[in-house]
């Protein structure tokens, strides 16, 4: 059902139940209440387009990897997120708390996967197309790490050291106003897990680098710095500081 359509029906239904509530058949009243109270799933999520072609990040990340990563992996997270949200809607409407809880794993995994990859594509750009110029981000990096190189070293080391699947992140701490390096396991999203606002992430799941780097994750992590979209990162910091 489209969002617009649902709006019209909802308003009419609310009006009807308000005026006639005591006269509605109990089963009708119950199903209306369920319908009205069902958590809006926000419609269907979709796979975002990339701002560049699949081959734009070569030779650091091959077109083959980009196509697999975007059109298969990310797409699967989006599809499965939509499935999980539909199941959540049904469970909420039915008041089935047990099912609501059992869906949490799938929501975190697929929702996290969708969030993380969306951020990832936006914080990458063709090699040497952006640079970290003098500004708030550069200043904050110097203040919190001592310099860009020190931050790069810490973030690379942490990302490389992730056991199994996960992500390395540079995040903004709203409480302290500082930036920090953090890692998350699997598809656990940064903000929901740690409270840090993501500035940029590095996917260290094997699917992110296996085609191009095989088991040598350090080579991939060291190379990806050339692809960071510093304009996007600056903007994220500015938004987070508002």
């Amino acid at each position: 059902m489209s969002t617009g359509c649902k709006l019209i029906i909802n308003s009419a239904l609310r009006a009807a139940t308000h005026v006639n509530s005591s006269k509605l058949r109990p089963d009708l009243a119950k199903s209306s209440a369920a319908f009205l109270s069902s958590a809006p799933s926000g419609g269907k999520h979709t796979l975002p387009d990339l701002a560049y072609d699949y081959n734009a990040l070569e030779p650091i990340i091959s077109a083959e990897t980009m196509e697999l990563h975007h059109s298969k992996h990310h797409n699967t997270y989006v599809t499965n997120l939509n499935v999980a949200l539909e199941k959540l809607d049904s469970a909420v409407s039915a008041g089935d708390v047990s099912s609501i809880i059992s869906l949490q794993g799938a929501l975190k995994f697929n929702g996290g996967g969708h969030l993380n990859h969306t951020l990832f594509w936006e914080n990458l750009a063709p090699s040497s197309s952006s640079e970290l110029s003098v500004g708030p981000l550069k200043g904050l990096i110097a203040e919190c790490f001592g310099g860009f190189d020190a931050m790069k070293e810490q973030m690379s080391a942490s990302s490389i050291a992730v056991q199994g699947s996960g992500w390395g992140w540079l995040g903004y701490n709203k409480k302290t106003g500082r930036i920090e390096v953090a890692t998350c396991a699997n598809q656990d999203p940064l903000e929901a897990t740690t409270g840090l606002v993501p500035l940029f992430g590095v996917d260290v799941w094997e699917h992110a680098y296996y085609v191009d780097y095989r088991n040598v994750r350090p080579n991939y992590v060291n190379a990806i710095w050339d692809l960071i979209n510093w304009d996007a990162v600056e903007k994220r910091l500015a938004d987070a500081q508002k």
Binding site: G105, Q163, G164, G166, W205, H207, Y210, N215
Partner: protein, 235 residues
Amino acid sequence: MMLSTVTVLVAFIFQGCFAKVDLPALPYDYKALEPIISSKTLEFHHDKHHAKYVATTNSMITEDSGLSDAPLEEIMKQSYGKNAGLYNNAAQAWNHAFYWNCMKKKGGGKPTKQKKLMSLIKTSFGSFDAFLEEFSNAANTAFGSGWAWLVFDSETGQLMVTKTIGAENPMNVNPNWAPLLTCDVWEHAYYLDYQNLRPTYTESFLSKLVNWDFVAANLETASAKSSTQEVGSEL
């Protein structure tokens, strides 16, 4: 001066020879599991991934006089929950050695020749197909890097399917559990051959690769061990 240097060298080499976890050779050549698992995958998986876990484990235990001569399972037991770095590498060394043996050329199908195993699968899961479904589900729903396992539970005398994350081995999760069969679902196990299609890899593993003789032998060992323990506790 020179004598003590020589002594130190000899001691170093001596220790190197004995304080070691081995990288076992594959029980078959790289091409043996084609086309289900390519020789390229086996080569990388064994010679790079498995080898690195072994090397890292060895470099971490040379310092520790308690562990440097211990068998791998003891290293895992000692480090579980205490030394994540050591556990992750030691357990991965064990898991991979076990995994290679879980597969063979022209494997898979049903364990019809292994009567005791087949019978226990039926009583534990209801049917062989029910076991396949549960094992596939465990393999396909591990949210990240991990392993799917068939284990023997010495407390119930039944079989169970379980899944673990990262390097975790079921015998460390529950000392009553003895691994009988495993499938590696870290992406490096299947990425070159199946890319993102993990379910296809799992299905192929089950239908074409499983070495049921090895699984049956593991069951023999596990149930013999559990009955001697029972006898011991009655005395």
